[in-house]
């Protein structure tokens, strides 16, 4: 079984991001980067499928050199091949540009199953998996919480959480699945896996070598502004003895018309 996993590096969600003062972009200097958390579920699912069916896992990313650490963390977990498509020559990108590039690479290496995170936690458009499927003319089931592929069939059954219930969806293979939290519990890399990752050199591709039209590198959407969420209002600490503070709390809540 040929499994392809698409991953992305994203700013560590634990840090406070800064918006550049002169353009609608975030400051990327000196911030820690991590693998997109949803992609971790995609990798784990790929490892489980390979345990069941054999085959190989190729992990690809479209990103800067620093994104190699994300690919290395996948090698440490057990992926077989890693490819980074260098994003240096592509100045602006939207989900469609990314999808066209990823889809072309996936087409070149061949695939039975394509796994992605359901969205990246940086911009959160949640489009790439679906667009790759469309470009490859194959089905896509998004935000799956369970993936069942019985032995040697060409059909997959997925569970999706929907508002107030559970949806069970079937599709033929090959297909794209995007991973939702809860799909699995990602494993930790073994020490020998980490050692292997440190020694592995990552394959790098230039977008120009992909035989795409220059038109494909033009984003269709443009971010015009980025701003911080509204500031949280300052809280109020009520001091005093217990009965007094309770009374004061009640009064304050009434005054603010919460109760």
């Amino acid at each position: 079984m040929k499994i392809v996993v698409c991953v992305k590096e994203v700013p560590d969600t634990a840090i406070a991001l800064k918006v550049k003062s002169d353009s609608p972009e975030i400051e990327t200097e000196n911030i820690p980067w991590v693998i997109n958390p949803y992609d971790e579920y995609a990798i784990e699912e790929a490892l489980r499928l390979r345990e069941k069916f054999d085959g190989d896992i190729t992990v690809i990313t479209f990103g800067a050199e620093r994104a190699e650490s994300v690919l290395k963390s996948c090698i440490a977990l057990g992926s077989d091949r890693s490819i980074r498509i260098n994003d240096k020559s592509v100045k602006d990108r939207d989900s469609l540009v990314t999808s066209k590039i990823l889809a072309r690479v996936i087409q070149n290496i061949g695939y039975d199953i394509i796994l992605c995170g359901k969205e990246s936690v940086d911009y959160g458009y949640a489009q790439t998996g679906q667009m790759i499927a469309e470009l490859l003319q194959i089905p896509c089931i998004s935000a799956i919480k369970k993936l069942e592929i019985p032995a040697l069939t060409i059909e997959a059954t997925c569970h999706r959480e929907i508002e107030g219930g559970l949806e069970v969806v079937k599709c033929s293979l090959p297909s794209v699945f995007t991973a939702q939290k809860g799909l699995n519990v990602p494993r930790y890399a073994s020490l020998s896996g980490i050692m292997k990752a440190k020694k592995t050199k990552i394959e790098t591709l230039e977008p120009d070598a992909l035989d795409l039209n220059t038109f494909d590198f033009k984003p269709k959407i443009k971010i015009t502004n980025l701003s911080y969420p509204p500031k949280r209002q300052e809280g109020k600490i009520i001091h005093g003895t217990l009965p007094d503070t309770a009374k004061e709390l009640l009064r304050s809540l009434k005054e603010a018309r919460y109760i």
């Binding site: 560590d12 406070a16 000196n30 820690p32 991590v34 930790y188 890399a189 073994s190 020490l191 020998s192 896996g193 980490i194 050692m195 440190k198």
Partner: protein, 432 residues
């Protein structure tokens, strides 16, 4: 099974200094760090002394992520709403090697330092906790990392696990510290634009200032508050012995809030935005209660070894690096004879004893203890002195002589002069 010449636990300044020294001599070295990346869990007040680092990586300030070099120091004693301060500025410190004093942010700095070791060939495993040592006939012969296939073997293990020394305690080298031997410090990084910092503290580009506050800054407890200038932020914190916090029923966060809201401090922080809050334990074991620093196949370095100078110098990182280098050099010597037993590692103790590390620990190690015998130093004296000086300067219709007499009498009624002089003498001897 993985085997290295040396395994190091902890990618802080001590562990990385040891790793760098060893890989440069061609040894295979694995470093285990529980944080997401080296520096992610590492913390100190804010000023790095760099005599050892400058030997390891000459002129490191040209490439390392340092914030500012310290040319100015200010010490003040606060009462509830007054201040008595002395400020020093040294233009000589404005030139390389910048008096080997820099403010740094550890998340950035430690990452850079660890990268240097990695570039030189060390293998650093992040997000990997070490649960125990592996013993072979009583000799430490490796470590158990909390990962699949996590048993890693080595000729010798360097434990640089930090202040919360669970492994060192587990190995029986160190007793659980007592509350008065541990400082708990909390710190905020408060962002303020670069030019505002330079105007407010009267600094030129890259120049920095270290401010320490005693007395009312920490509610009259032993300990202090501090402000260190970074490039575009301030490190603002307080540190006091856990025992004092407990006696005064004081929570570290509340203490920091009270420090920040002191009228003197508040003005220095105005307009700032808190970016992060962190806390750390600082071991102040004192020379006499240092842990056992070597065992068969094992050396203890950095905070785990209790290498902290608690006096006005507040030196920890530099000592940590020194101990890391000393441990590495000892290992290189031990390799000649192939003897990694406690006896073969004795050179480590000798190196420490012949250096500023043990000299300073011996000299200053009991500062907290001595000061704790004189609580009046931080409470009654500052209050009385500030009240007297305030009286002296308070302008009223009274003749000045009368003002002076009132101020002085007020002071004498509260403070015994002989005791004050004696205490000052004792304090000077202990601290300076």
């Amino acid at each position: 099974m993985e085997k290295f010449d040396c395994v190091i636990i902890g990618a802080g300044p001590a562990g990385v200094a040891a790793a760098l020294t060893l890989v440069r001599k061609g040894l295979t070295v694995a470093v285990f760090e529980r944080g997401e990346y080296p520096g992610s869990k590492n913390l100190f007040g804010g000023v790095l002394y760099s005599t050892v680092l400058n030997k390891l990586i000459p002129e490191f300030w040209k490439e390392a992520s340092v914030e500012r070099h310290i040319t100015k120091r200010r010490y003040s004693i606060l009462s509830k709403n007054s201040e008595m301060a002395v400020e020093f500025g040294f233009e000589d410190f404005n030139h390389p090697p910048f008096n080997n004093s820099f403010t740094v942010l550890r998340a950035k700095f430690d990452r850079w330092f660890a990268q240097k070791a990695e570039d030189a060939g060390a293998v650093i495993f992040t997000e990997t906790v070490v649960d125990d040592f592996i013993y072979d006939k009583g000799k430490v012969s490796g470590i158990k990392a909390r990962r699949e296939g996590g048993d890693v073997y080595a000729d010798v293990v360097v434990c640089a696990e930090g202040a919360n020394s669970l492994l060192t305690e587990k190995a029986g080298l160190k007793k659980k510290p007592l509350p008065h031997q541990m400082i708990t410090a909390v710190k905020e990084i408060i962002s303020i634009p670069k030019d505002v910092i330079e105007d407010r503290f009267n600094l030129s580009d890259n120049e920095g200032m270290a401010l320490e506050f005693f007395g009312g800054a920490v509610k009259g407890m032993i300990g202090s508050g501090f402000i260190y200038t970074n490039k575009d932020s301030l490190s603002v914190g307080v540190g006091c012995p856990i025992s004092a916090m407990k006696e005064n029923n004081m929570k570290p966060n509340d203490l920091l809030e009270s420090f920040k809201s002191h009228p003197v401090v508040k003005k220095l922080l105005r307009g700032g935005k808190t970016e992060e809050l962190s806390a750390k334990m600082i071991p102040e074991l004192g020379y006499k209660t240092l842990p056992k620093l070597i065992a068969d196949g094992l050396l203890i370095v950095g905070d785990a070894g209790g290498f902290v100078n608690p006096s006005l110098y507040r030196e920890g990182t530099n000592m940590a690096m020194y101990s890391g280098v000393a441990a590495a050099e000892t290992i290189l010597e031990a390799r000649q004879s192939g003897d990694f037993s406690e006896k073969g590692l004795q050179g480590y103790i000798k190196k420490l004893e012949e250096s500023f590390v043990m000299e300073d620990l011996e000299r200053y190690g009991d500062v907290p203890e001595k000061l704790s015998e004189m609580p009046q130093l931080f409470k009654e004296y500052p209050d009385a002195i500030l009240k007297m000086v305030q009286g002296y300067f308070t302008i009223s219709d009274l003749p000045k002589d009368e003002l002076h007499r009132q101020a002085w009498n007020g002071f004498k009624d509260n403070i015994s002069m002989w005791k004050l002089l004696l205490d000052m003498y004792k304090a000077r001897k202990a601290v300076l």
